[in-house]
Symmetry: C2
Subunit: 244 residues, 2 copies
């Protein structure tokens, strides 16, 4: 059966997240599945590299699906671009090996979290950042962030308290940059638990504000959700890249 | 009487332009005047460096107004930031000489016009660019744009056909850059007629598409509106800076 890969982006502001939900079609998965089913004339079910939360954005989401249709990729791409709402964009549509699966084959994912850390107005970027002007200690956050690197049990950074599967993940890189009015957190890992990036950055911000010490991270591995920091808002988060 | 200067920005998407209009309070001037009047407890009338059209943005608008209030500038700034909608931002609030007037004293203004010139998706910048993927000849547009420099009669680039005042303006610089998916036009002049930047860029784009020759600009000085190019959409336009 034919297997297709889409590379896509979206502004998550007005959606209830990636995943199809019963009772609403206001999810990105539902919009894409409805549009593809209409274009291809057959019911389409898609898999993404992973779900994104309500309000979270994506600049590098990857999707795959099977279909019977022989419609050329260029035509599918053109029709998707014509029919989808303007907050969902398609970079490419390609035929891939029947064994490719957007979620199961994902090797790493990279997310950014953007904090607007200034009293200056944030008019043009306001839907893509979390605004919190309280001063933070960059050095303390940088030191603490290094403890995330490597393989650890991120149970304390998972919103799902009754997670039955493994909560062990591998973090490959973690950077924190100060731009003019913004602090940008960028993390790459082999997978992320539910709300994991938002809780990791929330915990670092508590360190940055002096509410926790910079050496508190190692004690959180294998600990429980109550021990880690605040879940910060979804609007600052963006899925940037998935590698295979 | 006390005279105050505000440096402000706004996303123009949902407004009917800068200028107060009867029958609606959905203009940026009306929002600012209402909010200032409430904060200062006296009726406030403001002057901007110039009007912006419905849908046009500003990153460097300057405003001045007189008031009786002795409220400190920091307090006015703090209250404005608290009460104004999130698509209007205030950079600063300063006491200035009683003779300063945001419109009458303006020496130059700089506008950018952003064209998304690509089939690639434009999800995140879509409210700040005009999308037109048709290929254009950058060299032809660059050559033509040089003819705008200097002092000319821009009658053909003015939406107001019955303009009684002078249509002579001085253009100090005009640059056109190609970024990845975008072409950015930046123009600085001593003043701009109604719709002038949008008609200038619209005319350059017709040159870029080969619908006009690159040497057509000089013949348009002193000509009529019917001779120049298309008025392109307001969403790509942004007032970047005013100098005094």
């Amino acid at each position: 059966m034919r297997n297709l890969r889409l590379d896509i982006c979206y502004e998550g502001t007005r959606y209830r997240g990636w995943q199809r939900l019963s009772g609403t079609d206001n999810t990105i998965q539902a919009k894409l599945e409805q549009t593809l089913s209409r274009i291809l004339g057959e019911p389409i079910e898609i898999s993404a590299s992973g779900r994104t939360d309500a309000g979270t954005h994506a600049k590098g989401q990857v999707v795959s699906f099977h279909c019977q249709s022989t419609m050329p990729c260029e035509e599918i791409l053109f029709k998707l671009r014509s029919y989808l709402p303007e907050d969902i964009g398609i970079y490419s549509c390609k035929n891939v090996s029947p064994r490719f699966h957007a979620r199961l084959n994902a090797k790493t994912k990279t997310y950014t979290y953007r904090l607007w850390n200034s009293e200056e107005p944030c008019v043009f970027e306001r839907k893509f950042v979390h605004i919190d002007p309280r001063p933070v200690d960059m050095d303390a956050m940088l030191r603490a962030s290094r403890d995330f690197l490597g393989q650890h049990d991120f149970s304390a950074f998972c919103a799902n308290k009754h997670m039955k599967k493994s909560t062990v993940r591998y973090i490959e890189s973690f950077s924190i940059e100060r731009l003019e009015n913004e602090i940008r957190f960028t993390v790459t890992g082999n997978g992320f638990l539910h709300h994991m990036v938002r809780i990791m950055v929330g915990t670092l911000l508590e360190i940055g504000r002096g509410e926790r010490t910079a050496d508190c991270i190692p004690a959180l591995f294998g600990a429980s959700r109550a021990d880690s920091g605040e879940l910060i808002p979804a609007c600052g988060l963006c899925l940037m890249e998935v590698t295979y």
